[in-house]
């Protein structure tokens, strides 16, 4: 599904990614762990096409297409979803409006009929119920005045509704209490299927107790220095990044 080869990228003239190689097949869940400043968030932004994250070398193929040639919205419509570490506030735009606009943009892209207000409401109510999210959130402006936990729940709700093929989770666990963490994990696990993949970026192995990954990678100084299975995360927790990176 996703094939990253020798990917190099810089931000503001500074090289952050220094040759990443990573292949994610359909149905697989990969976790990327690493210390601050290793390039974890940069990797998620490069994959989703954020402005200012300049690719200087290497290639990324997604479903047989050159991902790096696609605009951010085309990537989103093609099934790449980024759950933000810091979800952005959009004053005056109700969450429901935002979700409906996004969903219909994606449906239109795929050549599907757009949903009307009633159809949308029915669908979104199903999802909020599943994820134990209060409907009241839908009326509030996107992320405005949301607590840290609410923001992350909102990301999970968006993901549940948009049903992406590749989920990128950028430190979704940061700032979450254990209940919110379970909700977030539940959101990912519900979507888990042989056709869907995920790349989970996290500092701590705690999240991986709830979303069990098939592979764990350690990212340090812009490179993947070690890969393994779930047990690598536990090893990391025990020994710390410094020791593993040096090894």
């Amino acid at each position: 599904m996703l094939e990253i080869k020798d990917l190099r990228a810089e931000v503001g003239g500074k090289e952050i990614l220094k040759g990443i190689n990573l292949t994610i097949n359909s149905g697989e869940i990969h976790a990327v762990m690493g210390p601050n400043g290793a390039g974890k968030s940069t990797l998620s932004y490069v994959l989703s096409g954020r402005h200012g994250y300049e690719v200087t070398g290497g290639s990324v193929m997604y479903d047989g297409q050159n991902l790096l040639d696609m605009d951010p919205d085309v990537r989103a419509c093609s099934g790449i979803f980024l759950a933000f570490q810091y979800p952005v506030e959009i004053p005056g735009v109700a969450s429901a409006t935002f979700l409906k606009t996004a969903l219909n943009a994606q449906r239109k892209f795929r050549g599907e009929e757009e949903l009307d207000a009633m159809q949308f409401l029915k669908l979104v109510r199903e999802k909020t119920k599943e994820l134990d999210i209060k409907d009241d959130m839908l009326k509030r402006a996107v992320n405005v005045g949301f607590s840290g936990g609410e923001k992350k729940r909102n990301e999970v709700l968006q993901m549940a509704l948009l049903e992406p093929k590749l989920m990128l989770l950028d430190e979704t666990d940061s700032g979450l209490d254990i209940d919110a963490l379970k909700v977030a994990a539940e959101g990912v696990n519900r979507l888990r299927s042989p056709e869907r993949s995920a790349l989970i970026i996290t500092h701590y192995q705690r999240l991986l107790d709830y979303i069990v990954p098939d592979f764990v990678h350690v990212l340090a100084d812009g490179k993947i220095v070690k890969s393994g299975d779930k047990s690598l995360a536990l090893e990391l927790e025990e020994k710390g990044y410094a020791e593993i990176s040096a090894a």
Binding site: S48, G49, G52, P87, E89, T97, F98, A102, Q158
Partner: protein
């Protein structure tokens, strides 16, 4: 990728250029170019006006000659040659029209392109679920068609071109014309008094709630023509009316002048809602052409508990100079001003309001949303004045500016004058930029850059958009997106 290409093209076609920029080939009856007493007499004669009105026009003209064009607004434009403008242009018509069927089909075609199905409205008048909006259409200088008149007449509501009101209801016109905006008021209002050609007249009798929205569409078609319409609305005791105004003009390389005057008179316990979607041609991306929109709008809340709301969405015009104002004379009267002003490319807008509190317990609310993109300059200029007798008067002002890109400007110039010891005045102002973060967030959910921009800006304007009548709000939301075309990337 074929589907994505299609999406891109669809988006491009939606946001493409100025969609009302067509010119219609309609024979016009035009006065000689330039301005003189003879032209004023010519216009008055064309309209077959009574002597008192001609005298009033001439007084205004002579007064105007002594005046200087105001230069305090933060707008910059080459000097206007007032002798290089046509002051009267009317679509040629043979005889008096008896019904819509006799209106020049080409004009009807123009209105159809503008999305105002005049003919259909009349036809559908009896049908359930048909749009309940009465429309007056002003083409260049002359009102060409007013719909739903019979139904309104049953309620005693008068809705007609002002030139007709002069003939049929002279007592009302004579009493109120110039009573809110006298010809001595300012340079452009003096000019308007001298040369106004048409506009709408509305009278809502005592105790009547106008059964439908009243709407006027203004269109400037002929080249080098000034449009000077005059609107007069009188809401008698305990009455209510919601009035909508929409404006478009063809794309032309030269600038066109629009200097309108709108007067509202509101009596005891009456309410007027006045909504505008102004989409005059703004000029091209290099600032060539476009309408100079120098407009005086004022409401006099004369009665106790009277109320006026101005809601405006200003997206067009090369230059906007406009301050819809409220004179809150009656005790407990209420004035509201809700404004969205969008400027892109080289547009300039200097707009705001005046709230003049004279009566006791009067209150006013100002919510202004200014959006600047490209190299545009947008200024909010507003006056809140509390008179000596305005006991317990209150004002609340919120001015928010949104900047898109780094070459545009937003300015806020509030004037506050308080002579009342018990008045409360609040002023809040913010300036923000659309962040790259917000755009990326929307794009990451599947919206194109332009759709993202439109969504964010609509959110910014929401408080004001909510004040518009339903059918206008939808149009205005789309317009917000279209006006910002080319402002990203």
């Amino acid at each position: 990728m074929a589907v994505s290409q299609e999406t891109v093209e669809q988006v491009a076609s939606v946001s493409e250029k100025y969609k009302y920029g067509f010119v219609s080939d309609i024979e016009a009856d035009t006065a000689p170019i330039g301005l003189s007493e003879d032209i004023v007499r010519f216009i008055s004669a064309k309209k077959d006006e009574p002597e008192w009105l001609l005298e009033w026009r001439l007084k205004a003209y002579r007064y105007w000659l002594e005046m200087e064009e105001p230069s305090w607004a933060k707008v910059d434009y080459p000097e206007i040659d007032f002798q290089d403008i046509y002051y009267y242009s009317a679509p040629k018509q043979k005889d008096k029209l008896k019904s819509l069927d006799e209106v020049d089909p080409e004009i009807l075609e123009v209105y159809k392109k503008l999305g105002i199905p005049l003919k259909e409205q009349e036809v559908l008048a009896g049908v359930e679920g048909a749009p309940n909006v009465a429309v007056d259409a002003v083409f260049d200088s002359v009102s060409v068609a007013t719909t739903f008149r019979e139904r309104l007449e049953k309620e005693g509501v008068i809705f007609c071109p002002i030139s007709e009101a002069v003939k049929n209801h002279p007592e009302l016109v004579k009493k109120y014309l110039g009573s809110v905006v006298p010809y001595t008021d300012n340079f452009y209002s003096a000019l308007n008094c001298a040369v106004f050609t048409d506009g709408s007249f509305v009278y809502i009798p005592k105790g009547v709630r106008c059964p439908m929205e009243l709407s006027t569409y203004f269109r400037i078609n002929a080249a080098q023509t000034g449009q000077f319409e005059r609107t007069l609305i009188i809401a008698d005791d305990e009455s209510y009316v919601s009035y909508l105004e929409g404006c478009t003009a063809p794309m032309r390389d030269e600038n066109q002048l629009h200097a309108a005057v709108v007067e509202l008179v509101i009596m005891d316990n009456a309410e007027v809602k006045y909504s505008t979607v102004q989409n005059w041609y703004p000029g091209d991306e290099n600032g060539k052409g476009g309408i100079y929109n120098f407009v005086t709008k004022r409401a006099a809340c004369r009665g106790v508990n009277s109320k006026v709301s101005w809601t405006q969405v200003e997206t067009g015009s090369a230059i906007t100079w406009k301050y819809p104002s409220c004179i809150l004379q009656g005790d407990n009267s209420v004035g509201e001003f809700y404004s969205i002003a969008i400027t892109n490319n080289l547009q300039q807008a200097d707009t705001g309001t005046k709230m003049i509190h004279l009566g006791k317990n009067t209150s006013s609310t100002i919510i202004s949303k200014g959006i600047s993109a490209g190299r545009a300059q947008s200024t909010y200029r507003g006056l809140v004045r509390m008179g000596r007798k305005a006991e317990n008067a209150r004002n609340h002002t919120v001015c928010d500016s949104l900047l898109i890109g780094d070459k545009c400007g937003a300015h806020t110039v509030p004037y506050i004058e308080n002579q009342s010891r018990t008045a409360k005045i609040e002023h809040e102002a913010t300036t923000s930029k659309i962040s790259e973060e917000q755009l990326f967030y929307c794009q990451q959910r599947g919206l194109s850059e332009e759709e993202s921009m439109a969504l964010i800006v609509n959110g910014f304007c929401k408080e004001v958009l909510q004040k518009l009548p339903m059918e206008f709000a939808v149009e205005a939301q789309k317009l917000v997106g279209i006006s910002l075309e080319g402002s990203v990337g």
